[in-house]
């Protein structure tokens, strides 16, 4: 049987997919608080913006992250339409290495203007040793590898997504 074709998420997803974040009267299935910071002293934040080909932050993207290692299975979802500068922010714990791979989160990106979603990954700047030997990171052209690595600032990691152009983020065909 043929796969059902994808269509864009469009500009109006928020009241169904991220309703509480956007203050609609409908319970959210998922949000960006993947672990409770009050109960987890090792909570990290991962924040960033999504840029279009003209370098403008995209105000109507939806980012999903999936963290699956031997300790945790955590899912997060955040729209870029409510925070200052059209940021997304996730609260989670740092993923751990699986089978010697560098730790990462899987990312799924949706937006108006994308008829089909994109996949990328978030790796971590402070995992120098594992990043150096990681099979996936090493399969990426060396001058684009940094687009997959979040930069660290205390307990916060910055990860920007650039949809198009010279500095384009690496997207995966999975």
């Amino acid at each position: 049987m043929k796969q059902t074709p994808s269509q864009t998420v469009g500009p109006y997803f928020a009241y169904s997919l991220t309703p509480e974040q956007y203050l609609y009267d409908f319970k959210s299935y998922a949000d960006s608080v993947m672990v409770n910071p009050l109960e987890n002293p090792d909570t990290i934040t991962i924040t960033g913006k999504v840029f279009d080909g003209a370098g403008v932050p995209i105000p109507d993207a939806m980012i999903e992250v999936w963290q699956s290692d031997h300790q945790n299975q955590l899912f997060g979802r955040c729209g870029t339409g409510t925070l200052a500068d059209n940021r997304f922010v996730f609260y989670t714990t740092k993923p751990t290495s699986v089978n010697g791979q560098a730790p990462y989160l899987s990312v799924i990106i949706f937006m108006r203007g994308q008829l089909i979603h994109t996949y990328t990954r978030i790796y971590f700047e402070d995992e120098v040793t594992l990043n150096e030997t990681d099979e996936v990171l090493n399969s990426v052209p060396s001058d684009r590898k940094h687009t997959l690595i979040a930069t660290k600032n205390g307990n916060s990691y910055e990860f920007n997504i650039i949809m198009q152009g010279e500095k384009e983020t690496v997207f995966f065909d999975i």
Binding site: Q3, S6, Y12, Y29, D52, Q67, Q164, G165, D173
Partner: protein, 235 residues
């Protein structure tokens, strides 16, 4: 243990990133080729939805936002099954939907189309497929609405669907259209799908699903990416 590899997107039916008639794709489509990724644990797993407490009327948009009466418009019931490419049902798939009201207006704050909101209609719902992969929504047939893509651009009637199957390779966001809609031939979002895929996005009117004196019935099935092997069986 056999290695399960999920199939790729079938590019014969999925739209490309860049589709210039749909103007917003021009600055948002990746310009470099995608990197092929060997699937590992995070691709072969996904969130489990069984523990989410669905609200009583989450799959009934005619009842889940009542304030002072009934929503206006034509009541419909949409039935369907979620399957993989081998036709096997996919249970426990989270399905989330959103749509315009009967007048073609979304409740989203960004939608400024000059058509009335309906105080008794939110336009959002969700459900989880049963053990046979089946789902059902009651709703109101959404109206067509104008958009700014080009002169006199109108979106055909549609319901937005988001599906999350067993893992992240199964993720699908799409739109369900209605049979015979004259706007389909002019819609660059629908036409962004290659010709082979277009009919797969059009629901079928079904008299056997139609509920007498209550709601017109439509059927819309989903096929998500399958895999190369039957799941590993413990020995």
């Amino acid at each position: 243990m056999s290695q399960i590899i999920y199939n790729s997107f079938d590019r014969e039916v999925h739209p490309p990133y860049l589709s210039p008639d749909y103007q917003s794709t021009v600055l948002r489509a990746p310009s470099k080729p995608l990197m092929v990724l060997k699937q590992s644990l995070s691709e072969l797993t996904g969130p489990v939805f069984g523990d989410f407490n669905l609200g009583e009327f989450d799959n009934d948009l005619t009842k889940n936002a009542l304030k002072n009466g009934q929503p206006l418009g034509e009541r419909i019931v949409v039935h369907g099954k979620v399957m993989n490419e081998n036709g096997q049902p996919i249970p426990n798939t989270l399905i989330e939907i959103w749509q315009a009201n009967a007048a073609g207006r979304y409740i989203h704050k960004v939608d400024q189309h000059d058509a009335p909101l309906d105080p008794n209609f939110l336009g959002a719902g969700r459900c989880i497929t049963d053990s046979e992969g089946n789902y059902k929504f009651y709703t109101i047939k959404p109206g067509a609405y104008p958009w700014g893509n080009h002169h006199n651009a109108w979106r055909p009637n549609h319901i937005h669907f988001s599906l999350f199957g067993a893992n992240i390779t199964n993720r699908l966001v799409t739109q369900m259209y209605f049979p015979g809609d004259p706007l389909l031939q002019y819609d660059p979002i629908f036409l962004g799908v290659p010709p082979k895929g277009r009919d797969l996005l059009i629901s079928a009117f079904d008299l056997s699903l139609t509920e007498p004196s209550f709601a017109l019935g439509y059927r819309f099935n989903f096929v998500l990416r399958g895999h190369n092997a039957t799941p590993f069986e413990r020995q």
